[in-house]
Symmetry: C2
Subunit: 454 residues, 2 copies
């Protein structure tokens, strides 16, 4: 029989719900596995095994309180956790203990999840790396900034996790680590209690080992939050898992669905193996019944990407301005350069960049009249060697800028055994569409079943 | 019998609807009056009497197409009008003829209104004055930036008008000219086809001679517009005129209503006559059944006002950056200085100013749990002498910054015969509450009946 730690979140949740597995058994199996692999992977900023065990015992003694009853999860260390240090991968924040949980953490707990610990993040979710390693090749980056969440999931040290994406920080590490990561629509998931990196670009989202796991996590965390005004004008959240069930399985599962292949941008400097896996994935999507067609990105697309970087710089500088004045030396080199650049931008230039954004969103809404989903590589290639850089967010940045939902699903392994990801992006608030396509693709391939050689 | 031009919009609309008055009779009376007074008031950037007459003839021959059937209106010259020059009070824009109507202009036409012409605006709705004069004292400013709309209404040269407010540009000129002006909630009225002054601060709104007139105009122009995303998350617009009818008249009309008197800010440098009129207005509101109570403005209030000015500078610079590079010399002195200041602001400072705004909005929502309406003076005093300055927006700026609805209703005349205004502000999207209070106040006093000595 499969060890409990190796079950997907959905499988584990079903086993606990059917009382074939107790929350304590699941937790102990997972903690045992963590002891074996964590010394090499270094995914966790801090673990809370005793608290987790007390919670597992309590949950074992009650009826299911929610769909994540007894499921051990990891949370990126920029999500505030009441009574648990939240250091954001920063020397400056070391020892900071929030007095409240982020809304998403509250919702995970309410769904029955057990908080196993905080996963490593790059410094303030920016570009200075964390100690985390890629379980598929320990001398390669797991990506960033949600490095620890991706690595912990790939190494099967938790069953679900939370990450955040400002440029490419959910989808990139998920792709590098061969798992599924979803960046929701801007406004879909509350940012209350999540340390900001860039005000108008930050998106918290779920990461998991399968598409269904991610849908279950999104169900738990999505929805309006009076503490985050950005969520209040969003339409009510659907039940994403139900959307998967309704979609049905089978060969023609994606009938009538139009999948767009962009004419440019996503292929600049694309690794040859990644390009091959991407083309194969498009064939599979076609075989699943969808129409795969070429689409022309708006003229403004590249200007939008420059605007993204400028907004990112400026807002990071705005977030850090006070602390930076007194402790610039305690910042990592990359974030420091980033903040310094932000200080140099004149405000009207920032306003114009936001106006470019409004125009590009409009143009992309137009584009999405002709297709239901865009499919692109999830990264320019597999996880690069070395731990100094977390790799490029270039493939993911467009959807952070637009606020449109995007996800990655495993779509291959390189000759050196490193995972590759397929990125799918959809219309605002149509997370269910990209989840449905990803689930059909996942069901038709076996990439999600691969396990890192730890 | 009252000359048709002298009727309020509501009276004129009722007379036309009952066929006691034809659109042509109403227009001819108004045009005749314009001929008599416009040479002294200079409210109009351009009049379109022939087009207006053709439209009046057409409307006279059909059943009523809407609640403004046959009503002559003026539109500030920053609202785009198809085929009619829109020069924004600027040398640079002279000769610019839009190919489409602003959404608000479309809606006025759909309600049956007749566009009489474009009213003078300060340069690009900023601080460099237009030729318009105050009908109550021709050597005094009518205020700005909606100078022409306020002056035309006060001089009874139209029955309704559109203005815009970024700091105090609807409420201030309305108060200086003894009329009613309403700045709606941000997002309530479309800005599509209105030349921007400052992206996140601009509010188009109605101006009229009575509260009921303004409610009728707001009914016509309010509501979602796919061309202005800011309007899309607003709740559906109410029928503001019905809200007035439902409220009932009578002495106790404001029973249960809590009116707040701020502890500070609105009284700095307040003119003694304006202070007296304000205190008398509070007594009247009390006599009408409301509870008048002191409220403490949030600590952040003054910081918010600094943030407003900074945002205003930066966004004006962003709007004008391209044109300014090539034709700086064609800008007025005040807007030039304004734009230059905007260029000097570092972008992170702008972002922080927007964050101050978010916090102050939150704090003001809290404050509005204890009161339904805030009552303040509409300006520091009556219209100042001279035409070089349009006066201070200091009383109106807070509600432009917050995006909360505000209006002015006449509340007195100085010894020199200049009008004074009472400003009422309410919760977001509760325009009907401030209209109801203003209507009760207007009904209990006779200030709105005063006519300038032209």
């Amino acid at each position: 029989m499969t060890e409990p730690y190796a079950l997907s979140l959905s499988e584990a949740a079903a086993a606990v719900a059917n009382r074939r597995l107790s929350p304590v058994e699941l937790l102990d199996s997972t903690l045992g596995h963590i002891e074996r692999v964590e010394p090499r992977v270094l995914a966790w900023a801090r673990l809370r095994p005793e608290e987790a065990r007390r919670q597992a015992e309590r949950l074992g003694a009650t009826a299911a309180i929610g769909p994540l009853h007894g499921i051990p999860v990891g949370v990126k260390d920029i999500f505030y956790t009441a009574g648990i240090e939240t250091s954001c991968g920063s020397r400056i924040m070391a020892g900071f203990v929030p007095t409240y949980d982020a809304t998403t953490v509250v919702r995970l707990r309410e769904a029955g999840a057990i908080l196993l610990g905080k996963t490593h993040t790059t410094e303030f979710a920016s570009f200075d790396p964390s100690p985390a390693r890629n379980p598929w090749a320990l001398d390669h980056t797991p990506g960033g900034s949600s490095s620890g969440s991706a690595a912990a999931l790939a190494a099967r040290m938790c069953h679900g996790a939370l990450g955040t994406q400002t440029s490419g920080s959910i989808v990139r590490p998920a792709a590098f680590c061969g798992i599924v990561g979803l960046k929701p629509t801007f406004g879909r998931v509350s940012r209350y209690g999540v340390h900001p990196l860039a005000w108008t670009l930050d998106h918290p989202g779920p990461m998991g080992r399968t598409v269904r796991d991610v849908a279950l996590l999104l169900d738990a965390i999505a929805g309006a939050d009076p503490n985050d005004p950005a969520t209040l004008s969003a339409p009510p959240a659907e039940r994403y898992v139900l959307a998967l069930d309704d979609a049905g399985a089978g060969e023609r599962g994606l009938h009538r669905l139009r999948i767009g292949v962009p004419d440019r941008y996503f292929f600049d400097g694309l690794d040859i193996e990644a390009a091959g896996a991407y083309r194969a994935a498009l064939s599979t999507l076609g075989e699943l019944g969808s129409t795969v067609r070429d689409v022309r990105l708006p003229d403004l697309f590249e200007a939008g990407m420059d605007a993204h970087d400028l907004i990112h710089n400026v807002e990071a500088a705005a977030v850090h301005v006070d602390r930076y004045r007194t402790c610039a030396a305690d910042y990592g080199q990359k974030l420091r350069a980033f903040i310094e650049t932000g200080f140099q931008v004149p405000a009207p230039t920032y306003v114009r960049a936001q106006q470019v954004r409004t125009k590009l969103i409009e143009a992309m809404r137009e584009l999405f009249r002709d297709v239901d989903v865009l499919a692109t590589p999830a990264a320019p290639g597999p996880a690069p060697e070395g731990l100094a850089s977390t790799g490029s967010p270039v493939m993911n940045r467009p959807f952070s800028f637009l606020g449109f939902p995007s996800l990655t699903v495993p779509c291959g392994l390189t000759l050196h055994g490193l995972p590759l990801g397929l990125q799918l992006a959809g219309r605002p608030f149509e997370e269910s569409t990209i989840l449905r396509v990803a689930a059909a693709y996942e069901g038709a391939t076996s990439w999600s079943e691969a396990v890192p050689p730890l």
